[in-house]
């Protein structure tokens, strides 16, 4: 059965072509703003959310970025970010704000569709730079991993190793390893959400305040960090 997916993107081309280009997804709504989606409240397994939603011509004053993620997760949606954003702390902030995944718009369509399906099925789609950050947080004892096996899986995945490679090293089947990874990413992203920017800055060796630009304190304020951050 195809998962029901709602798309939030300010680009009409994306909204209109998503269902055609990704036939594995049942696109039940395609809207330009988070506000509109919250108003319509469609039933969806996943919301595919663009990070940059404000634009001067059509919708200069809408919620976007972390605030958009928090607004949607606040409504009980699973949110997967679909963006061209590449700054690793922005990606990590999205996960910390409650997104279950981040998919790059630079990926081939089929690969992106596969990741959306994983996210809709309950998986966590953690981009490689964020896996790297999580590994650092674990190594610096900022996040506690209980088992040695979990540490080994994170060690392999942070180096870009495939599921097959890590599975081979740990003498388990690939499907078993995918299960482990799913549990591990859920647990790690949950831990990430509970960390303060200050704790992360300390673990990563950043200066105090470096992450404030990315990590927002307030949850669903329309005047979110994102717009004020870019206009500064």
């Amino acid at each position: 059965m195809r998962p029901a997916v709602a798309v939030v993107d300010d680009a009409p081309l994306i909204r209109e072509s998503m269902a055609l280009l990704m036939p594995g997804l049942d696109v039940v709504a395609a809207v330009a703003t988070v506000e509109e989606l919250v108003r319509r409240r469609p039933t969806a397994d996943l919301v595919v959310l663009d990070l940059h939603l404000a634009n001067l011509e059509q919708q200069p004053d809408v919620r976007q970025g972390i605030a958009a993620i928090r607004a949607l997760t606040g409504c009980g949606y699973r949110v997967c970010v679909y963006s061209q954003e590449e700054r690793r702390f922005v990606l990590a902030a999205c996960i910390a704000a409650g997104a279950c995944g981040v998919v790059s718009k630079a990926l081939p369509t089929a690969r992106a569709e596969q990741l959306f399906l994983e996210a809709a099925a309950g998986g966590a789609v953690v981009p490689q730079p964020v896996v790297g950050i999580l590994e650092v947080l674990v190594r610096r004892d900022c996040i506690t991993l209980l088992s040695e096996r979990q540490r080994q899986i994170l060690h392999g995945r942070a180096r870009g190793l495939s599921y097959a490679q890590v599975a081979k090293r740990l003498y388990v089947s690939e499907s078993t390893l995918r299960g482990y990874w799913l549990d591990l990413t859920r647990s790690l992203t949950e831990s990430l959400r509970n960390l303060t920017p200050g704790e992360i800055e300390h673990a990563l060796g950043l200066a105090p305040g470096d992450l404030l630009e990315f990590w927002s304190g307030e949850a669903t304020d329309g005047k979110d960090w994102w717009r004020t951050g870019t206009s500064r």
Partner: protein, 408 residues
């Protein structure tokens, strides 16, 4: 002063080659033979006077003297010991002189005088002719002289002189053996020296060839990519890379000796990796370097890692067709660092595909030569993982300590 001494002492200038050793043998042989002749000369008058057949004594003496001179001159001219035929003749003459000696000597003079020069002459032949190649000729010659010496003692054999006679016979045997060993061993040393020199020259040639390959390889890869159609942005990045490669090639052509010891200021590995990856902005490279931010390497090692990483990324660009490349740096608490370069491209079968110059020389060869481990893991369709790792260098440990201090 050295050259003056060398002229007086020609052996000092002899090369330590096979030809040089044979030349040294010719000096040795001429020296022994002329030396023996010099010992024979003072007694010749007394010998002629006391001999029962003075003319025959003189003829035999002259034959021995002539043989000594001829052998000396011939070896010096040939620059090597005599051949088999002349050596056989030399042995034969020595035997003949011993056998004829009882006819030209009075019996009381066969021991301990140079009037009876024949045993001494035979000894000089044994010493000098042992350089002959044929083992049979050497053994036959020695046996012939021993038997002839027994004949020489012959009828005049006096019981009191038995021990002296046995001693003289042993002298022949021992000197024959010792000089044979001396000739043989010295020739072996010369042979080994020649072989080693040839091997060293071959290794030097191969090393130079390898250095040229290492220096040129990345440059050639960049040039090949430049000849392929591409966007202006891609070409501009390639031109940046080409600039770096041109610098390297020029320093090679200027004959700069590579910094083997890795002297020079330490390099921060993470910053260097970041710089290299920036030159490959067209590739989907993720750099995760936080865990190795404190790694510092000696300049020589860092340069080798830089070239290796560049070569790996050039390979990814040219062959891998990868959707993702992860460059990950890690350092353990004991200072060991590991750089992992992983691509999810087409990969290759490491058992059947012969690695190119890039992977074999620029990556594996160069890094291992500098004490850095390299492991290449790949399979067709499963991407490639290259793991580069090394133990703590003094500087790396220092870097780690600095980081800990900073963290504290």
């Amino acid at each position: 002063m050295m050259s003056g001494r060398s002229r007086l002492w020609p052996v000092a200038e002899l090369p330590t080659t096979k030809a040089g050793v044979e030349r040294a043998f010719s000096y040795f042989i001429a020296g022994v033979r002329i030396g023996t002749l010099a010992q024979m000369v003072p007694a010749v008058h007394a010998g002629v006077t006391t001999s029962p057949h003075d003319v025959a004594y003189l003829v035999c003496w002259a034959a021995a003297a002539l043989a000594s001179v001829l052998v000396s001159v011939a070896t010096l001219v040939r620059r090597r010991p005599l051949g088999a035929v002349v050596s056989a003749a030399d042995y034969t003459l020595a035997c003949l002189l011993l056998v004829l000696a009882p006819l030209v000597l009075v019996s009381g003079e066969r021991f301990g005088t140079w009037i009876a020069y024949q045993p001494g002459y035979a000894l000089s032949v044994i010493i000098t002719a042992s350089g002959v190649r044929s083992l049979a000729l050497w053994a036959g010659g020695m046996l012939g002289i021993v038997v002839s010496y027994a004949v020489y003692l012959g009828g005049a054999f006096d019981g009191d002189m038995t021990t002296t006679a046995i001693g003289n016979i042993l002298t022949y045997v021992v000197y024959a053996l010792v000089t044979r060993m001396f000739f043989g061993y010295t020739r072996r040393i010369a042979h080994d020296a020649d072989t080693s020199r040839a091997r060293a020259a071959e290794l030097a040639r191969r090393e130079e060839e390898r250095r040229a390959q290492v220096m040129m390889h990345n440059g050639v890869a960049v040039m090949r990519l430049l000849t392929e159609p591409g966007t202006d942005a891609a070409r501009s990045r390639l031109i940046d890379l080409a600039g770096v490669e041109v610098q390297r090639m020029r320093s090679y052509l200027r004959g700069r000796v590579p910094d083997q010891d890795g002297d020079g200021p330490d390099t921060a590995l993470a910053a260097m990796i970041e710089r290299v990856c920036e030159r490959f902005a067209d590739l989907p490279v993720e750099t995760l370097l936080d865990l190795g931010a404190a790694v510092r390497l000696p300049a020589g090692q860092a340069e080798a890692v830089e070239r290796a990483l560049e070569s790996l990324l050039l390979n990814v660009r040219a062959h891998a067709r990868a959707d993702g490349v992860v460059v990950h740096l890690d350092q353990s608490a004991d200072g060991h660092w590991t750089l992992t370069v992983r691509d999810d491209g087409v990969g290759f079968d490491t058992a059947t595909v012969v690695a190119g110059v890039g992977l074999r020389e620029v990556v594996v060869g160069e890094l291992r030569r500098r004490g850095i481990d390299v492991d290449v893991e790949s399979a067709a369709g499963a991407g490639t993982t290259v793991t580069i790792s090394a133990g703590p260098t003094p500087s790396a440990v220092r870097g780690d300590r600095d980081a800990l201090t900073d963290a504290a």
